[in-house]
């Protein structure tokens, strides 16, 4: 029997190794084929889950507490599905994009493969130590991707990123060690009944360390300092991968721990992430409004959009808050991938990377601008889009609990997003003398549009995704 969970991890590893063996810059075709199969597997897993409930798989036949358990519930499969949906168009984009940048493409495919394998494994892991391993794999592959450009700026950004990601996972690992010391296990299902509200201080310390480390990796304000240079400096497909998916992995992990073993302890500090999230929305949007370079604008927009994800924490006991968070993760994942892809095309075509340089681009690159605009609609949270549904659910959950302040932060964030999105569109609509516009492969434009359209169309049908999220974990505890 083929278990999709195992194959979702093995396949990307396989095509990554294959690409490495083929040599620098090669391996795009097997990667795309592999990703297409992964998408089907993820869909199969989601369909199976909707029919029959949570799945679990013990690798090598050894179950917990000795072996490695893989487990899938609605939350993890939703994230898996998002990953595969975003990566496939981005891979097709990258294949065309890197055709003209041989140097930057040297290690893209192997590194991307390890990154995807790490992400998929992270979503499927069910014990704290395995989660650490996958987190480290994702972090190192991401740093490698940023550094692969080879420029002095990119190396600096990559080193800063490396420092942040190692510090983050170090703090997490320390937390895991403390938990192991306290309870003698790192398996999440085993921990669930053990951690109670009367847990010793060392467990609280462990939880705090893990939370802080993961926040650093998610680039939550004020830990966001590493993100804009890394995401803004990398080649477009890499920026898209990092902004759309990698930061979501550590967010998922916070959510998983928050809802799982640490649920009895989490209530008291629920407002901390929300406050930082609100600050991130305002600070990130402000920086995006001021940014001179278009990719920095998009990168700071990521800082702001990640803030929304953390607004849900005080609301988590309510029906609908988790749904709002995952809908936002989908909205931002799809839209940000589209936006970085579109920004890549714009920079490639106009030969400039500033917002000013875009004057008149709407005439020459209507398709790309349309993609940018659609992605912008999602980021602003205007209907019809996934971002709008996320905002609706968030505001409704906030009002249901009487937490006005969260609704206000979400609405204000949407208006601020409008300021920076329309800053770009305005510039592009300006009448300007037709400058030198280099021809860009149509495939790049279409992939950006595809991702943007997906982020908008999801806003017309979220029922299935919400149904999937409702599938509980094994044992029904979360």
């Amino acid at each position: 029997m083929i278990d999709p969970m195992v194959w979702l991890i093995v396949l990307p590893l396989a095509w990554a190794c294959f690409a490495f063996l083929l040599g620098p810059g090669r391996g795009a075709r097997p990667a795309i084929a592999g990703l297409a199969v992964q998408l089907l597997l993820a869909l199969q897993l989601a369909a199976g889950l909707n029919d029959s409930g949570a799945g679990a798989h013990a690798i090598g036949g050894w179950g917990a507490p000795l072996g490695i358990d893989l487990a899938a519930d609605g939350l993890s499969v939703a994230m898996l599905l998002l990953t595969q949906v975003v990566v496939l168009p981005l891979a097709i984009y990258a294949r065309t994009y890197f055709a003209s940048y041989a140097a930057e493409a040297r290690y893209f495919w192997p590194l991307a493969g390890f990154l995807i394998a790490g992400l998929n494994a992270l979503f499927l892991s069910a014990d704290l130590f395995n989660l650490y391993v996958t987190l480290e794999l994702v972090g190192l592959a991401a740093v490698g991707l940023v550094a692969a450009g080879g420029g002095a700026k990119q190396i600096t950004a990559a080193l800063r990123y490396l420092f942040a990601t190692l510090l983050g996972s170090g703090a997490y690992l320390l937390g895991v060690a403390l938990i192991y010391g306290a309870y003698g296990t790192v398996s999440i299902p085993t921990l669930l009944p053990l951690v109670t509200a009367e847990a010793p201080d060392v467990v609280r310390l462990a939880g705090g360390l893990m939370l802080a480390g993961l926040m650093l990796k998610t680039a939550l304000f004020p830990f966001h300092f590493w993100l804009p240079p890394a995401h803004g400096g990398a080649p477009a497909p890499v920026s898209a991968l990092l902004s759309a998916l990698v930061v979501k992995a550590s967010f998922y992990l916070i959510l998983r721990l928050w809802l799982g073993p640490f649920a009895p302890l989490a209530g008291i500090i629920a407002w901390l992430p929300a406050l930082l999230g609100a600050a991130a929305i305002f600070w990130g949007s402000y920086q995006a409004i001021c940014a001179r370079r278009i990719k920095m604008l998009v990168a700071y927009s990521t800082v702001a959009q990640l803030g929304y994800l953390f607004l849900i924490f005080p609301l988590l006991p309510t029906e609908g808050a988790l749904q709002a968070g995952i809908m936002q993760a989908y909205a931002h994942g799809l839209a940000k991938a589209a936006m970085f892809a579109a920004a890549g095309v714009l920079i490639e075509a106009t030969g400039q990377d500033t917002v000013e340089g875009l004057a008149g681009a709407a005439q020459q690159l209507p398709l790309t601008l349309f993609a940018f605009g659609l992605a912008g609609i999602t980021l602003m949270g205007l209907p019809p889009s996934a971002g709008f549904l996320a905002k609706w659910q968030l505001i409704e959950a906030a009002l249901a609990q009487g937490h006005w302040i969260i609704a206000v932060a979400a609405l204000a964030g949407g208006l601020l997003a409008a300021v920076y999105v329309f800053r770009v569109l305005r510039q592009a609509f300006l009448l300007a003398p037709v400058g030198d516009v280099r021809p860009v492969p149509r495939m790049l434009e279409w992939m950006a549009l595809l991702l943007a359209a997906a982020s908008v169309l999801l806003g017309l049908r979220g029922v299935e995704l919400m149904q999937l999220l409702g599938v509980p974990a094994m044992g029904g505890a979360s």
């Binding site: 008149g360 709407a362 005439q363 209507p366 349309f370 609609i377 602003m380 205007l382 209907p383 019809p384 709008f388 549904l389 905002k391 609706w392 659910q393 505001i395 409704e396 009002l399 249901a400 609704a407 609405l411 949407g414 208006l415 409008a418 329309f422 305005r426 609509f429 300006l430 009448l431 806003g459 017309l460 049908r461 979220g462 029922v463 919400m466 149904q467």
Partner: protein, 503 residues
């Protein structure tokens, strides 16, 4: 899916699909683009005709579709919605014809007509929305699809106007969304219904409901250009003439006024709104807007800006009618939704003709324009007289019903507001007509672009639409008492809103 479910969707598709195809058409495929545009507009008219006949006979048209668990997109074509749909469908066809003539030879027409069709789709969605969620989706879609039209010319001035437009409308959208979600969390999912659906919450929630009403009305009031939320409208005048016509007569301001009607009648219900003491303040805001808009219009030399302030004033007639408690005021407000549309679009078509043909943009340049362009000026005069409420015009019918409505509602002061506004309308329209008809024309028109060919004073595609709408303005006044007039339809709606209370 039955026919009754498919028809509302077909009405949406008849402008959405041509719009999407037009986006990807190459600039030079003029014939294909024009054919698509006109086919869509005519198909929509046919569909609307079927709907009108059906609704008159008491059929229900509607469809619902779940977006999230417990959150549905709902479309329904009821009598109130059809009033707006019919107006939009007819004026869309005319404006399309006008725009084809107006933009002949201009660049970026595919983009223009693409967004134009999206804009009409959004208007149809607003008219057919069956709950507040659906209403909001299309309300924001309208904002987004009109922005590229406002900034179409791509000049710095256009960008400034567009930015101000966005700032107002997106801000209003945020208020509206807050109100809608709040109401949703109180009342759960509920469709628009005769007599409203919040009355069941009762007086216990009165404070919250009043606040929600304020949020909702402020949200839609931005588009309806209620003072002090009207600042965007004169600024948006930088758009090309067909867009101004569409913004001011059909899509945007009407979407706001229509939203107010839906909120008062089918969310709160007139009687419940009255018991919460919400209608009197709304009437006061409308009255202030009517007077303020007319006063500001007096001092504008730019023709389109004068018309814009006139719109600010006239749209609030509708709001005033809605806020007057009683079926007669309702009829007056609703019928003005149609009447103001045909009058104002005539004026904007004519203003566009003056600008395109002779280069006239200012009132002070209008000297003798009536002799050079008699047909356009006749149309302009009819519409302007109708605005003042001269007998035998559409405007007179609206004003008569509004005054009666104010009388029955016991708000005599509103009659004074209407009379003052008529007077002010005369003060700012009559000098234009005087200049156009009785002043000496200049020896040569400095900005003449289109030479006259015999009786055809300008391109025929520019001439036809204002003549049709001016004729409609007269017809709506003269034949107001017949079965097929807008007035008869407004009475039908009022009859269904105030069951059994019609005079």
């Amino acid at each position: 899916m039955t026919i009754n479910e498919a028809l509302p969707l077909a009405v949406l598709a008849s402008s959405l699909l041509p719009g999407l195809v037009i986006f990807i058409l190459p600039e030079t495929w003029i014939g294909t683009r024009t054919t698509l545009n006109l086919l869509g507009a005519v198909a929509k008219l046919v569909l609307v005709g079927i709907l009108l006949a059906g609704v008159h006979a008491g059929e229900d048209y509607g469809v619902r579709y779940a977006v999230l668990p417990g959150l549905d997109l709902v479309f329904k074509a009821d009598a109130l919605g059809l009033l707006f749909i019919t107006l939009s469908a007819i004026l869309w066809l005319l404006t399309t014809l006008y725009a084809i003539g107006y933009l002949e030879g201009a660049p970026r027409r595919s983009r223009f007509f693409g967004f134009f069709s999206l804009c009409v789709t959004a208007t149809m969605g607003i008219a057919m929305a069956g709950n507040l969620f659906t209403f909001f989706v299309f309300y924001e879609l309208l904002t987004l699809s009109t922005f590229p039209l406002v900034v179409h010319r791509g000049t710095n001035q256009a960008m400034k106007g567009g930015t101000i437009y966005l700032a107002y409308t997106l801000g209003g959208g945020a208020l509206l969304l807050t109100g809608i979600v709040w109401l949703h969390s109180l009342a759960g999912q509920a469709d628009f219904a005769h007599g409203g659906f919040v009355a069941s919450l009762g007086q216990a929630h009165a404070g919250q409901l009043q606040l929600i009403f304020l949020l909702l009305i402020a949200g839609v009031g931005v588009k309806a250009a209620l003072v002090p939320l009207h600042g965007w409208l004169p600024q948006a005048m930088v758009a090309p003439a067909p867009v101004s016509a569409l913004l001011h007569a059909v899509a945007v301001v009407k979407a706001g006024a229509f939203g107010i009607a839906r909120i008062v009648y089918e969310v709160y219900g007139v009687e419940f709104a009255q018991s919460l003491e919400l209608l009197a303040p709304l009437a006061v805001v409308a009255a202030v807007t009517i007077i303020w808009g007319s006063l500001r219009a007096l001092f504008q030399d730019d023709l389109k800006r004068r018309l814009a302030y006139s719109t600010v004033s006239q749209v609030s007639y509708i709001v005033l009618g809605v806020a007057l408690f009683g079926p007669i005021g309702t009829v007056g407000g609703l019928v003005h939704l149609v009447h103001q549309g045909i009058m104002k679009i005539t004026l904007f078509f004519c203003a566009g003709n003056y600008a395109e043909t002779l280069g006239i943009h200012k009132v002070s340049e209008m000297d003798g324009a009536g002799r050079r362009m008699p047909l356009t000026t006749v149309a302009f005069s009819i519409a302007a007289l109708s605005m003042m409420g001269v007998p035998l015009t559409a405007g007179a019918v609206s004003k008569a019903w509004l005054s009666d409505g104010a009388q029955t509602a016991g708000m005599e002061w509103a009659i004074w507001v209407l009379w003052t506004s008529s007077l002010l309308n005369a003060v700012y329209f009559l000098p234009i007509l005087w200049r156009a008809w009785f002043h000496q024309a200049p020896v040569a028109w400095s900005g003449e672009h289109i030479p006259a060919h015999g009786w055809r004073e300008t391109a025929w595609l520019l001439l036809l639409p204002p003549l049709v709408t001016a004729a409609a303005t007269l017809a709506a006044g003269i034949f107001a008492d017949t079965e097929v007039s807008p007035l008869a339809w407004a009475q039908l709606i009022a009859g269904r809103e105030y069951v059994g209370a019609m005079p």
